[in-house]
């Protein structure tokens, strides 16, 4: 009997500790977000730093985005052709591939890849700077690390994400063209014509851009926060990078549902 009570008490203690830690973590994140927001515009006094981050975060993620976009487009083209051919509607392949990519897969898959490639790198870099006292050294030189290190990386993520998502969708549409038109013989005029007729620049393209901006915002924020808040040990860095990828991915998927319901819900 006492063993059962002890187990229950241990469970409650564990639950309590977890809730306290989660609340503290959330509180720190809110304070950090406020502090970063105050430095977002002052960070533009050094635009070169932001351009460097767009390069480090965006340009260096190009390969993985282009390859993934190509394969997703190929698969969408193949699956779409198989389904549409049952209804003699293969001429709609172009619009099916492009809508799937621009509205949904482009922003979401890019965001997931971005969290794994760039988000984890940002977290690890900032956490390592903290561990090796580089951030402390900046503070002691009267240089604000939030303005010098964190804000440019956040801007970098915000700029890079919509551009990468657009590129992902573009390469995906080309992949769909390759498999649908070149390999399976769909009429090229139908492929492009349907895209032009059926896709709305506002409802589809703009909403996709808004989604990718929102994903860039949350991934950027989570990545820089987890790096800045990391315990300054090797285990702390490893935990922080893992948290960045897991938290960013789950947040992106949850946010995607909310945004989709808001943008495309009836």
């Amino acid at each position: 009997m006492s063993g059962w009570i002890n187990s229950l008490l241990a469970f409650l203690a564990l639950l309590g500790r977890w809730m306290l830690e989660s609340t503290q973590h959330t509180g720190r994140m809110i304070l950090f977000t406020g502090a970063v927001f105050l430095r977002l515009f002052p960070a533009w006094t050094r635009p070169r730093l932001i351009i460097q981050e767009v390069y480090a975060i965006g340009v260096l993620s190009l390969v993985i985005i282009v390859i993934s976009g190509g394969f997703v487009g190929l698969v969408l083209g193949l699956q779409g052709y198989n389904i549409l051919s049952k209804f003699n509607a293969t001429e709609s392949l172009g619009v099916m591939v492009s809508l799937s990519l621009v509205r949904e897969l482009g922003p979401v898959v890019t965001a997931l890849l971005f969290a794994g490639r760039a988000g984890s790198a940002m977290t690890a870099e900032i956490a390592l700077m903290k561990t090796t006292e580089q951030l402390s050294a900046m503070e002691m030189m009267a240089v604000d690390p939030l303005r010098r290190v964190v804000a440019p990386r956040f801007w970098g993520a915000l700029f890079a994400m919509p551009l990468l998502a657009a590129l992902f969708s573009l390469v995906g549409i080309l992949g769909g063209y390759l498999i649908g038109v070149v390999v399976l013989g769909v009429d090229p005029a139908s492929y492009w014509g349907q895209i032009q007729q059926q896709m709305s620049p506002v409802d589809d393209v703009l909403n996709g851009v808004i989604k990718s901006l929102a994903f860039g915002f949350v991934i950027g924020l989570i990545a820089v926060f987890e790096g800045y808040d990391a315990e300054p040990t090797s285990l702390g860095i490893s935990r922080a990078t893992t948290r960045t990828v897991v938290l960013s991915s789950l947040t992106v998927l949850g946010l995607d549902f909310i945004l989709t319901a808001w943008m495309f819900g009836t």
Partner: protein, 280 residues
Amino acid sequence: MDSYIQFERVSFSHGRRVILDQVDLVIPRGKITAIMGPSGTGKTTLLRLIGGQIRARSGRVMVNGLDMGRASRSELLAMRRRLGMLFQNGALFTDLTAGENVAFPLREHSRLPEDIIQRIIALKLQAVGLLSAADQMPAALSGGMSRRVALARALALDPELMLYDEPFTGQDPINLGVLLRLIASLNKALGLTSVLVSHDVTEALSIADQVFVINEGRVVGSGSPEDLLVQKAQSPFLQQFLDGVPDAVTGQSETEARNLAVALGLGVPTVPMAEQESVQ
């Protein structure tokens, strides 16, 4: 004596653990002051309090007339521009070359033309004897070289106050000699006020004008190195710390040493185990 830094009944704690307990210190202007004590006694905390990275739980820290507990953000930043700090591991920016590390505070706080910045980099690196390493990345530098580049970076803005956090730890004898000479000569040549946190007794005492010894959050000895040697006679802790005597070695018998070896699994017991158990 003109003081640069004053600690007035300063206390600081991490959670329930008291790091500093009612500490009073006066650090004179233009001198080298060593703060010594065993590891984990709050020496680095003192430096962080001076730099304003943390605030005291109670008491007052005054740096050049500025109350660090009440200083505004802009006052704190202005104070830090007159301060240089050498971190224990150098804390060089790993994505910048040695020269760019030295240029970092200049680029952040001045609008000097590039050719002047290049000349200052050369001057500062020359002062620490590493002009040839200007284009090297920190990963390519040895520990001693990294620390000297970090020293050049700390001196870039011609500070009034230099803080050194364990500058001698892990240095080979040659680098150690170079660092000692540099710290002493820079302090004299530039008229700096230097605060040196260290547990390397011989090295710290050889260059310090004044010494504070801290143990368990309190100042247990202070004065010139000569004063400290006099105080040592009256304080068992000072004697043990300054002479580097490990705990409970004096009078340890051969039997005790053997039993310790047995406990560590490195030897055979002096008394048979059965006999030991019956005694217990």
